[in-house]
Structure formats: C-alpha cells, structure tokens
Symmetry: C2
Subunit: 136 residues, 2 copies
DNA sequence: TTCTAGTTTATAATAATTCTAAACTACAAA
DNA sequence: TTTGTAGTTTAGAATTATTATAAACTAGAA
C-alpha cells in the first residue's frame, strides 16, 4: 500500500493517467516478489477474482498494451497461433526487424556462445536460438 | 520437375501419403533457392494463385502441421497474438519447456556470447535474446 | 478391381484480439 | 468548487487465426 504513490508516479511519468483500473493492475503486476509470466486471459482472471473491483477484459487488453509500450512489461517471444514457418530446418538464428516485422536468417556460425546454463534436472537442451531484434 | 520422385520419397519416408496436394505444397516449399518464411495465409495464396490446381485452406493447415511434425519445416519463435508478457524488463533469456509449454527466466549473466553478427546497414541492435528449448 | 484407411474439403465452431461508440472520470482552468 | 474536455473504460460486436466436423474422395494394398 505504501507503494501506491510510487506506482502513480510511474504511471504519470510514462504519460499514463493513473486511473483506478491501471493502478489496480500495476499493483498486481509490480508488487510481486518474483517475476510473473502471464497472458491477458490469466491476468484478467487474477485481477477479477476478488469479487469487489471489476475491470473489463477490454481494459486489461488496453492496459497491457499501454504498459508494454511504456516499457513496464515486455512481450516474450513465443510461437502461438499466427505462426510463422521456415523451410530452413538447420539450426540457425534470426534477426527480427521491429519496423518491418520481417524475420531474416542468421547463419549458425555467425553467432558463438561461450557460456550456456545447465538445463533443469530431468530436462535436456533440444536446441538454442538467438533472436536479435533490430530497429532503425 | 525431375525432383518430384525425391519429394514423393521424402513424404513417404516420413509416413505421409504423397497426395496431389502434399506434393504440390512440398514442391512449392522445398524447390526454392532461398529459404522461405511464411504463414499459412501466405502459403495458401501462393499455392492457389495459379488458377488451375486448388488446394483448400484446411488442407494447407493440415499439411503445414504434418510437415512440421515430420521435421520438414520448423515453427519460428515470434510474438503474435496469444501473447505472453513478463514483468521482468531486464535483459534476460529463457528456457522454453516444450513438454509443459512453460517459460523460465535465465539470468542475463548465465549466457555469454563471443560472436554476434553486425546488423544490416541502417539498422541497429535493440536487444538480443536466447531461447533454449528443453525436452525430457 | 475392390476395399478401406487415410486424406481432402467446405463449412461451422472456437479462441484471441481489436474495434466501436456511448458512458464515465481525472484534472486543468475558470 | 464547478465545469469542460480529452483521455479512459466498458459491453458487446467484429475480425482474425486456427481447429473441429463429417461427408466425399483417393492412394495403394490385397
């Protein structure tokens, strides 16, 4: 609760009017011990599970978009629906051009890793991909 | 055209009956000079742009799925719809567990790159992410 | 040639996201 | 303090990507 002012300030300094809904969502997201992976669906459930304060799904979408643009949260690379495929099945890496949304291959030997973490126990590394995001 | 037998063989050896539609799609995908990035939508347009041979959209979906399972094409990491977000905005990497579909953070300093390609001219590197895919 | 499991197809259903436009609200200025 | 208004929220409709359905078709073994 004592962090509410900090959250309001965070919103304001990133050009977001600190509304009831945004504050609620920001508290839920940023007043956590551990980092949090979520989808709009899960966040919406989380936010609305306490009967009292209801936030509409549209607002959850809007807020997540606004927070992402403001750099408070980050979209993670994944491969769900709207899928892209590649005829190149050799292990390789990608440039992802944020302006044009285009993917370009990077030849495998143009990237070298000198340190890689051990996989969690019971798991093994299937492959490793590097995505380099580009902008102008 | 002389590669048609090779394609039929490729299909057959991966347990896929070489139907007219699959052969057509396989030729389009695998008889190219350069690798090809595509979505089902773009592939469907490509396949059906020559008035003659029509393949239904459902079949394009089915075939792309079958080819992916067979390892002839590969799904690429990207971040379209069904998006995941992360409150951790520090530069970091991920394990992606293919069994559970869960993402786990990898601390930035647990990965070291000793070689990184230059960005294309006019572009600069915004960030660089490593995704390590895990399986049992 | 016949039979059948595998495949294709049009269409319906579902799921994620975006759009719309009316109602509401934060907050600057009077 | 009140008022005006730009920014925000909302429910629901629309859109987009994908998957499911079930009837018709076909590759290929017998």
């Amino acid at each position: 609760m004592k962090q509410k002012k900090a959250i309001i300030n965070k919103l304001r300094t990133s050009g977001l009017r600190p509304t009831k809904q945004r504050i609620l969502i920001a508290q839920n997201l940023f007043e956590r011990e551990k980092t949090f992976h979520f989808t709009v669906e899960t966040l919406n459930k989380e936010i609305n599970k306490n009967g009292s304060e209801k936030v509409s799904l549209a607002t959850v979408y809007n807020t997540v978009e606004a927070f992402t643009k403001a750099g408070h949260i980050k979209e993670i690379l994944t491969s769900k629906s709207k899928s892209y495929f590649d005829t190149n099945i050799k292990s390789h890496h990608h440039f992802y051009d944020e302006d044009s949304k285009e993917l370009t291959d990077i030849n495998y030997n143009q990237v070298k890793l000198s340190k890689v973490p051990n996989p969690p126990k019971g798991k093994k590394i299937k492959n490793l991909e590097v995505v380099i995001r580009l902008q102008k």
